[in-house]
């Protein structure tokens, strides 16, 4: 059943949101601290477990795959709702502050990535997995 996939994702999101909101409440801020992130972690762990036990049908997987494929269209729609006018009319202060942090962020990717172990580009990693399966 396709709905099982959606229900699984939805369940992960509700639990994640509960944890994120609880964290916010404990910290004294009215915000969701990482709710979506927790939901993603649950989906990775629970999804993998169900797949290993062969308990997630093709149809259920396709329910999740559909939303995964809808990701880019949703992002395009989201871009159509951005307040671009505010960004362009915010003046030089907003421009320099906003752009400065982005440039600094890009420059910091390599040094901070070096903290962890070596990570392989997704393409070669995916190919290797495929190669192992064949």
């Amino acid at each position: 059943m396709v709905i099982y996939g959606l229900a699984l994702m939805g369940g992960c999101m509700i639990v994640g949101s509960f944890i994120g909101r609880s964290l916010g409440w404990l910290l004294g801020i009215n915000a969701d601290v990482g709710g979506v992130g927790f939901a993603m972690l649950f989906l990775v762990v629970v999804g993998q477990r169900l797949m290993d036990k062969d308990q997630l049908s093709k149809a259920a997987q396709s329910g999740i795959a559909f939303w995964s494929a809808m990701y880019i269209p949703v992002v395009i729609a989201m871009c159509g709702t951005q307040n671009v006018v505010a960004a362009l009319t915010g003046g030089p202060l907003a421009f320099i502050a906003g752009l400065g942090t982005v440039v600094a962020g890009f420059l910091l990717i390599k040094p901070i990535s070096a903290l962890g172990g070596k990570s392989e580009p997704v393409d070669s990693a995916a190919n290797k997995q495929k190669g192992a399966a064949e």
């Binding site: 915000a31 939303w67 269209p73 729609a77 871009c79 671009v84 502050a97 990535s113």
Partner: protein
């Protein structure tokens, strides 16, 4: 007759949004091909979306881009936080747990470093433009973190409304700059593996910016980047009005 045509387009807002995004994607594909596929179709589509957003904003004077035009109100549904977050979570299915574990430490480090760097840059720019009171500086610094942290900080500290508006503008500039710049610089800054994506998510922070930036770069990296980015705004809302303000007040108070 006019009414019939208008009703046909506005009766099912979400469906109209499907059609619109489909058309944008199709046009973006043609443009991308004409440019020799050097820029991904999704990146072109994102830029088209932002341009339409600008046109919509100028036409209506609203703050939600093209979705403020009643004909395209469905964009706010399709691109709103419900579908966005649901689609982001769905990308986690198939992400590799061992990669996530490896990205844990650098991802967390990137969150802390980025909030400190953003607050420093935001406050420095505010200072350069003549703001000297710690409340305004902390609010602008919040905006340099994300466009949610700015107003949250401003409201908590009692900043003036024009400073809060400025902080939102800084945050919006940041998130749009992330969307446009990411696919252009990805190769040069080493954004081609899950771990770098997790670090990138923590460094950029804006969920919408990261979502669009990775969509235009390599959709396979989305789960890793989105995961860390979703912790950023909450973390910023925690740090900026408290520790951030205290430090700024100690220096400029």
């Amino acid at each position: 007759m006019d009414q019939v045509i208008i009703k046909a387009f506005t009766s099912y807002p979400l469906v109209t949004a499907f059609v619109l995004v489909g058309v944008i994607t199709w046009i973006a594909g043609i443009i991308s091909k004409a440019m020799g596929n050097r820029i991904a179709g999704s990146a072109v589509a994102i830029v088209i979306g932002l341009i339409l957003s600008y046109i919509g904003g100028v036409m209506t004077g609203g703050s939600k881009g093209l979705s403020d035009v009643s004909l395209f109100s469905g964009l706010a549904l399709l691109g709103g936080s419900v579908f966005r977050d649901f689609a982001i979570v769905s990308t986690a299915f198939g992400a590799r747990l061992e990669e996530l574990k490896k990205a844990g430490l650098p991802g967390a480090a990137s969150l802390v470093v980025s909030v400190i760097v953003s607050i420093t840059i935001g406050a420095a720019v505010g200072l350069a433009f003549g703001y000297t009171d710690p409340v305004s500086l902390a609010t602008i610094a919040g905006g340099a973190t994300t466009f949610i942290v700015g107003p949250v900080t401003g409201a908590a500290l009692g900043a003036s409304s024009d400073v809060i508006a400025l902080s939102i503008a800084a945050g919006v500039v940041k998130s749009i700059a992330i969307m446009i710049m990411t696919p252009l610089v990805a190769k040069r800054v080493g954004l081609d593996n899950p771990q770098a994506a997790a670090v990138y998510g923590g460094l950029m922070g804006s969920t919408s910016g990261v979502a669009a930036g990775l969509a235009a770069t390599d959709p396979k990296l989305v789960p890793y980047g989105a995961l860390t980015a979703t912790f950023y705004t909450g973390f910023g809302c925690l740090v900026c009005p408290s520790i951030g303000y205290i430090v700024l007040a100690a220096i400029f108070g």
